[in-house]
């Protein structure tokens, strides 16, 4: 695998996207031999590319933050600011297709199967079971929808411009969104936490809709949100406008009447609970800890993902982006491998698997996909 990565970087290192202000960022990578190397700093973009060719990392990373001394230990780096970072992972969506492609493995006896992990290993009864999440077109499609929701919030609510937002396919399970904006770069962890919860819809209270435990119904109606407003009030109004509500037969199209109806039927505390669920659904399925943690490192764009052999790829046209085609970086040359287990998967329109304990020849892109996932070996 390292040989294939080496060849790739030898030919393609030029295309790697070097982040802006790279001389203020920390770089790091994981070598094929294991471990993790961090706290690297570079003065020239060329040095970063040279490192990829020379060291051939399994995965390469850069910090979302900018530091006075990026190569110092964490405590001494001197934080200056950072991109706003969002991570959307298909696995968090809990889509039904997981059953078709996730793999679990018993820690004790090593039994491996495709599907959702059981409580206990059916062979030995062990309850410690590892799971490995795979992704398919549907998963990536789901993550894409979430990403579109995120972009809506960033532009509509936070007033960011398109050119301040970069969207990437992560190379595996979803999307990374990086915002570089003078306005937001100095926001600290606490402020980022607020942004994350805002985006994810965590902690919305009825007060935002003008609803308080003691509100009287008549004056309430006037305060409810309509689809013509902005921010979360608009989202809530739109959501309820579309929702089927049992027993409701109004025709009004701004959302208010339906919310009032639901509130009247449920009462305050049930309504509060329901609103929390709704806002989580409306919110974006981001990993909030990624947005909050300013010391995160992100995969370097246009480098290979060590677990798939796919590229972390810039998606300027998110709607048309097809991960299993556009992020495929390796070629067709056949490689002989031994596959332990694999669900069905499709790359560049070719469908592979499922496989179980077999020796076969696969195109490089598919072989690396399986070796990277740890389910195949070169015999």
């Amino acid at each position: 695998m390292k040989r294939i990565f080496r060849e790739f970087y030898f030919k393609n290192a030029e295309k790697v996207e070097i982040p802006s202000r790279f001389d203020r960022r920390e770089f790091g990578y994981t070598p094929f031999e294991g471990g993790m190397i961090r706290h690297l700093a570079f003065k020239e973009a060329g040095e970063i590319k040279a490192l990829l060719v020379r060291e051939v990392p399994r995965s390469a990373f850069y910090s979302v933050s900018y530091y006075l001394e990026p190569s110092f230990q964490m405590m001494e780096k001197g934080w200056i600011g950072g991109d706003l970072a969002f991570d959307i992972d298909a696995d968090d969506l809990g889509l039904p297709c997981k059953m078709e492609h996730d793999i679990w493995a018993c820690v004790n006896c090593g039994l491996r199967e495709i599907g959702i992990k059981p409580e206990k290993c059916p062979r030995c009864g062990e309850s410690k079971i590892d799971e490995q999440n795979w992704s398919c077109r549907k998963c990536v499609g789901g993550a894409k929808e979430e990403t579109i929701k995120l972009l809506d919030i960033l532009m509509q609510d936070f007033g960011l411009m398109k050119k301040e937002i970069r969207v990437y396919f992560s190379g595996s399970m979803g999307f990374h969104v990086a915002v570089e904006s003078k306005m937001f770069e100095e926001i600290d962890q606490m402020g980022r936490n607020e942004i994350a919860d805002y985006v994810a819809g965590l902690g919305l209270t009825p007060a935002l809709l003008g609803i308080y435990p003691q509100s009287n119904f008549e004056e309430l109606y006037r305060k409810l949100p309509t689809v013509g407003e902005g921010g979360w009030r608009r989202r809530i109004a739109q959501y309820f406008n579309k929702e089927e509500v049992e027993g409701y037969d109004g025709v009004e199209k701004n959302g208010r009447e339906k919310i009032a109806y639901i509130y009247k039927t449920l009462g305050y505390s049930k309504f509060k609970k329901m609103l929390e669920d709704a806002s989580r659904k409306i919110g974006v399925a981001i990993d909030t800890s990624v947005t909050t943690d300013v010391h995160r490192i992100f995969r370097l764009p246009e480098t290979l993902h060590g677990e798939t052999g796919f590229l972390k790829r810039r998606c300027d046209d998110l709607f048309r982006f097809d991960a299993f085609n556009d992020a495929v970086a390796l070629g067709d040359e056949p490689i002989e491998i031994f596959v332990d287990i694999s669900p069905r998967f499709t790359i560049r329109g070719q469908s592979f698997g499922p496989y179980r304990s077999e020796r076969l020849k696969l195109p490089t892109m598919a072989a690396v996909y399986l070796i990277g996932r740890g389910v195949a070996k070169v015999p």
Binding site: E76, E194, D197, T205, E229
Partner: protein, 350 residues
């Protein structure tokens, strides 16, 4: 749209640069203050300072002589050389400003906020959820201030956010910038230098000093528990337990802090044992030195937050580290809990 400021406006907000100009053009001299002409102003200035010294609620009654009385009250405060009186004065004045602003014309509110923060506040004139949202501020500026207020009401998710702005009611806008207004007044006062005052004024200064209670000395509790250590110390202890190399300043800082919260020399030396190049004799010598048992017999003080920050070792907690100058002022769990108020645990993902 900003209109011209009248004298009455300057009297209400005498920390504005325009008011400073007025005072300068008036050519007020210290010597003249003892003259009968200035009696009323001097009296008003004294009253102002006394309000601060006694911790009284500042009055909202203002007239034109207050442009000058503000300047004179700064002279009086500075002449006492009491730093804590200066802070109290700034706070009392800020509270007065806050009260006045709550009844103010919107453009004036914009102007005052801009004068103390250089932030672009604009009028919004929106009414949503039955609340008049008169103003809007950029989301990023909101996020630099509001998160430390720690009540659900201030959470971004519970605000109206649209087009890059957070929409706020008048009291919320004023609340958001309270500290900065107070800091602006403090900075204005701090920058004034006091000439020799005539005897009549010295007498007033002495009266003020008498009336100002000495601040309660901060008693640092002995035996503070590790879970109540400030984040900077927690980080150092963590890296120490991982046997990471800690720069000299870090070790010094940790030792002073731990000794100050009641650890013994033995305990502090013991804690150093995980350090890669640990030499018990050297470590003990150093810790005893810091504790003032050796050498110059001066007990070393715990570095201030500012010093810790400049060494890149500050992990400022946005709420609990707010407004503190020394890691020793970091609130203990008990007070932290009170401060935290009702902030609920967030439903986070793994």
């Amino acid at each position: 749209m900003a209109s011209e400021l009248g004298l009455y406006d300057l009297a209400k907000y005498p920390f504005l640069p325009e008011a400073g100009e007025y005072v300068r053009s008036h050519g007020l001299s210290v010597g003249a203050l003892a003259q009968p002409d200035y009696h009323a102003i001097l009296e008003r200035a004294t009253q102002r300072v006394m309000e601060a010294a006694r911790g009284k609620d500042p009055s909202e009654e203002v007239d034109e002589k207050d442009i000058l009385s503000f300047a004179v009250s700064i002279l009086l405060v500075k002449a006492t050389k009491l730093d804590h009186l200066l802070s109290r004065f700034a706070l009392t004045e800020a509270i007065r400003v806050e009260k006045l602003l709550s009844k103010e014309k919107p453009w004036m509110i914009e102007r005052i906020v801009e004068a103390s923060t250089s932030i672009d506040v604009s009028q919004a004139n929106l009414e949503l959820a039955g609340r008049p949202l008169e103003f809007k501020v950029p989301v990023s500026e909101y996020l630099k201030r509001a998160p430390k207020f720690s009540s659900d009401k201030w959470r971004l998710l519970n605000q109206i956010v649209d087009g890059g702005y957070v929409f706020l009611t008048r009291p919320d806008l004023i609340r958001l910038f309270r500290e900065e207004i107070s800091k602006t007044i403090y900075a204005r006062a701090k920058s004034v230098s006091v000439p020799k005052l005539p005897d009549a004024l010295e007498k007033i200064v002495n009266e003020i000093v008498e009336a100002t209670p000495t601040p309660k000395r901060l008693e640092y509790e002995r035996g503070r528990k590790p879970e109540d250590y400030p984040p900077c110390i927690v980080h150092l202890l963590e890296s120490q337990s991982k046997s990471e190399n800690i720069p000299h300043f870090g070790r010094f800082f940790m030792a002073t802090y731990l000794l100050n919260v009641g650890k013994t020399v033995d305990e502090v030396v013991e804690m150093h044992k995980t350090v890669p190049d640990f030499d018990e004799r050297v470590a003990r010598y150093q810790v005893e030195h810091i504790a003032g048992l050796r050498g110059g017999r001066t007990k070393y003080k715990v570095p201030t937050c500012r010093t810790v920050i400049s060494h890149g070792m500050c992990y400022k907690h946005p709420i609990y580290c707010y407004n503190i100058r020394s890691p020793l002022q970091y609130p203990s769990k008990y007070s932290a809990k009170l401060l935290r108020g009702k902030r609920k645990e967030k439903a986070g993902k793994e």
